[in-house]
């Protein structure tokens, strides 16, 4: 009976078009993402440079430090700035990121209120350079950039940290979106497998749907107990256009685009991911395969006609096709 139940589950999942890891790797990551383009998404500095030259909004880059010698430049980079972020270019999981919210006398104040000295910042940069936070332990570069202030809208449904928006983009067509909210468990990070919650977003309207937390469906934020569904995200078309434009930016055909909503600057791109996770499906209560197949059919049609669509046309196409029924 156990085996029979599994076959039933298999059938139902595949009828819903749920994408598994094997399919994602074989049909999308391996097919659309060229290995030689990976450095563009792995190195945040490269991503940013590409984005700037393509005219795509990113948090402003104040400076890059790539050798110990260049640490001397830190003073000139920070001159006149009271808040900024220092992060490793190839860090993973949010390690090694230093967020300075204010200056205090001759010292700096981090986002959590800790006071640190200039020397401590220099030591942090030195650690980043030696590769303490980079994945393989190889030498890295330190990136100093604009500190994002999340839009006050998110304050009510988020615990702390910066919520971000993830949109999966196939060949320039946004196929699924999710709002990621940090929780107490995730330690302020917006990473789903660290315990952040994901909330599905309707592609057409930008209103939130239900949520997912640790592979389960949820309706309320576990820390704030507010309903996560039915929130209208501001400037939704801005996010969609931004995400769709990332295909031209990096050349990778299947990516997850992580964006934030800054209080002053609007939607900004944080980073790109060449192997986006699959839990976004639970948050949207929809399978990715159905949507990617629809986009692939559309692409084949366009190819036979010999035309390609602009960013706006692509966004309109997917918004028409993948509009969700309002959540019950």
């Amino acid at each position: 009976m156990f085996g029979f139940g599994l076959i039933k589950t298999w059938r139902e999942l595949s009828a819903k078009g749920i994408m598994g890891i094997n399919r994602r790797n074989a049909d999308y990551v391996l097919k659309y993402n060229k290995r030689n383009l990976y450095p563009i998404v792995d190195d945040k500095i490269l991503t940013k440079e590409r984005a700037i030259s393509a005219g795509i909004n990113v948090p402003e880059m104040y400076g890059v430090i790539s050798t110990e010698k260049e640490i001397e430049k830190l003073d000139s980079i920070l001159a006149g700035r009271t808040d900024f972020v220092i992060k490793p270019a190839m860090g993973a999981g949010g390690d090694g990121i230093l967020v300075i919210a204010d200056r205090f006398e001759d010292r700096y104040k981090t986002i959590s209120g800790k006071i640190i000295s200039h020397e401590e910042i220099e030591h942090q940069i030195s650690s980043i350079l030696t590769g303490l936070y980079s994945l393989g332990g190889s030498r890295d570069r330190a990136l100093i950039e604009y500190r994002v202030t999340p839009d006050p809208l998110f304050k009510s449904i988020s615990y702390e940290g910066v919520p971000d928006i993830r949109i999966i983009v196939l060949m320039g067509y946004p196929v699924m979106a999710m709002l990621r909210l940090p929780t107490r468990q995730s330690g302020g990070k917006a990473n789903l497998h660290q315990g952040a919650i994901g909330v599905g977003v309707d592609l057409a309207t930008g209103t939130t749907l239900q949520g997912t937390w640790l592979n389960n469906k949820i309706n309320k934020h576990p820390d704030t107990s507010t309903l996560v569904a039915g929130v209208q995200l501001p400037d939704w078309n801005g996010f969609m256009t931004l995400a769709a434009g990332c295909y031209e930016l990096c050349g990778l055909g299947y990516i997850g685009v992580d964006m934030v909503l800054d209080q002053d600057k609007g939607p900004l791109i944080l980073e790109l991911n060449a192997r986006p996770g699959l839990n976004i499906q639970i948050a949207n209560n929809a399978g990715l395969t159905l949507r990617t197949h629809a986009v692939e059919r559309h692409l084949a049609e366009l190819k036979s006609k010999g035309i390609s669509e602009s960013v706006e046309e692509r966004v309109r196409f997917t918004q028409n096709l993948f509009a969700s029924i309002p959540s019950q």
Binding site: L6, T9, W10, E12, L13, S14, K16, I18, G20, I21, N22, R23, A26, D27, K31, A92, G93, D95, S127, T130, G131, L132, L135, G137, H193, Q194, T212, N215, N216, K217, Q281, I282, N285
Partner: protein, 508 residues
């Protein structure tokens, strides 16, 4: 994309077909045993020749020895004699040894020893023979008796085969007056064979005598007379006593023809006694031995052609693909999370040296302690290389301490940790701690348990001796595995764990 799929399908089909056909060729045509436990009879045949040599006269003794172009193959053949010259000649189907000495006196003993077994390669020699011969001269009463006998035989037979067996049946019916006349009161096999020969020659059916030895241990025996005739396609064998057709499996042909087994010049009272015994031998060793004695050399290009020590290494190495395939199945079909692809296989190899149970305990203890050291070092904010060096040193010290303790406690197992597992342990600790940092302790624990499980399973499979023998003997099996792995490369279905992960979708 489509052409790529076709390309892949052809490649997979090619791998599987080549793998299957090479293996099938090895098993069915070369007859290489499928399992190591398969044993075969090894026959040791001694023919002892004794005679009294005439003084002051040169001695020359001929004896037939088995022709060895049959279902049996000689592994070793020796002619044991003192001061005798030995030569072996072939003539027609027979082989004959000649022992000669210029001077010998008194009682002489010569030995012929043959060690042989069933032939492994089933290559059949094309049979040829004549299907017609002239009648033997016959006259008077005997001629009338023979013709009287042949009439009903012709009536009762349809072809050469039935004709011969009918003849033998009649000749063995000694109450028949005609038969009694032809036999002349002598009912020995030889006499009967002569009468059968005579009758068949009148019908122009060729017939040949042959002498066989029964492969049966510790039984007194002398060569048994059989008859054979060629029917145009193959030789038909008949027992002259019973008319029974077909040579039983346990008979081995010693020589053909009417001549006696031995002929002696310069001596008298010659007697030959046969002694047989059999022993069992590991089939693959036997195949190797017979390989050395035949020109075919079918094992020359197998892994058995390597020096023994290299063979032992390869016996371990050739199992690695199997281990990798287990990991592949567990990961891509099962969805088990492990540390990379090769770490579990390497740990499984390390288990070879530590034994499974002890290996798991050792692995758990050392990894736990190593991880706690690693997390302590984390606070010191050390760079990767110095940090790894410290962890490696710590692992060495830990293993030394465990070995010392277990030695003092009388557990010799503890000493079995060798160089190889140590490096693997250090690597595991490092990778596990990276996983810990990136994905949290829970996930790291899951991955560690998954890795141990995968390692234990592949260790178990890799150490099944039958499987190891099979893959080592039939390395083409690896191609079949490659075909499977290629197919897995395009597998798009769900992993087993995903069925549980996405359960939320079904709760509506």
């Amino acid at each position: 994309m489509r052409s790529l799929t076709l390309h892949l399908k052809i490649l997979i089909a090619l791998c599987v077909i080549i793998g299957v056909s090479v293996t099938a060729y090895q098993i069915f045509v070369l007859g290489i045993p499928v399992s190591e436990d398969e044993t075969d009879n090894l026959w040791n045949i001694d023919a002892k020749v004794e005679f009294q040599a005439n003084p002051r006269e040169p001695v020359k003794l001929h004896m037939f020895v088995p022709p060895l172009n049959q279902d049996y193959v000689s592994l070793n053949e020796s002619f044991i004699s003192n001061n005798y010259g030995v030569s072996v000649n072939h003539n027609e189907d027979n082989r004959r040894v000649t022992w000669s000495a210029r001077r010998a006196s008194g009682k002489q003993t010569l030995y012929y020893r043959l060690v042989m077994t069933k032939r492994y390669s089933g290559e059949q020699i094309k049979a040829k023979g004549s299907i017609y011969r002239e009648s033997l001269p016959i006259e008077g009463a005997e001629k009338i008796a023979a013709e009287a006998l042949l009439a009903p035989i012709r009536q009762h037979s349809a072809d050469v085969e039935t004709f011969i067996s009918e003849t033998i049946k009649r000749v063995n019916n000694t109450s028949d007056d005609n038969i009694r006349l032809l036999l002349g009161g002598d009912t020995s096999s030889e006499r009967k064979a002569a009468v059968i020969d005579l009758l068949l020659s009148i019908a122009h059916v060729p017939m040949q005598r042959l002498h066989t030895i029964r492969l049966e241990a510790d039984v007194q025996q002398s060569p048994e007379l059989w008859l054979r005739s060629f029917n145009g396609e193959k030789w038909l064998y008949f027992n002259p006593q019973s008319g029974e057709q077909g040579l039983p499996k346990d008979r081995m042909i010693w020589w053909f023809g009417d001549e006696p087994l031995v002929s002696l010049d310069g001596g008298s009272k010659v007697a030959v006694t046969f002694a047989l015994n059999n022993s069992e031998m590991n089939a693959i060793r036997l195949a190797k031995l017979s390989n050395e004695n035949t020109a075919e050399g079918f094992l020359d290009y197998s892994l058995y052609g390597l020096p023994l020590q290299t063979q032992q290494t390869y016996q371990i190495m050739i199992m690695i693909p199997l281990g990798v395939m287990v990991i592949l199945i567990l990961r891509n079909l099962g969805g088990l999370q492990t540390l990379g692809t090769f770490t579990p296989v390497l740990i499984a190899l390390a288990f070879r040296e530590t034994q499974l149970g002890f290996g798991i305990i050792l692995f758990t203890i050392i990894t736990t302690l190593g991880l706690s050291l690693r997390s302590y070092l984390e606070h010191l904010k050390l760079q990767m290389l110095p940090r790894l060096s410290v962890v490696l040193t710590f692992v060495v010290v830990l293993i030394a301490v465990i070995s010392l303790f277990s030695h003092k406690l009388g557990l010799e197992r503890g000493l079995s940790v060798a160089l190889f597992p140590m490096v693997i342990l250090t690597m595991t600790i490092e990778r596990l701690s990276i996983t810990w940092e990136e994905r949290g302790g829970n996930h790291a624990f899951k991955v560690a348990v998954g890795t141990l499980f995968a390692a234990a399973l592949s260790h178990y499979l890799m150490s099944i001796p039958e499987l190891a023998y099979f893959i080592f003997t039939f390395p083409a099996v690896l191609l079949i595995m490659v075909g499977f792995m290629l197919a897995m490369g395009r597998y798009r279905g769900y992993r087993l764990t995903e069925l549980f992960r996405f359960k939320a979708f079904l709760k509506d």
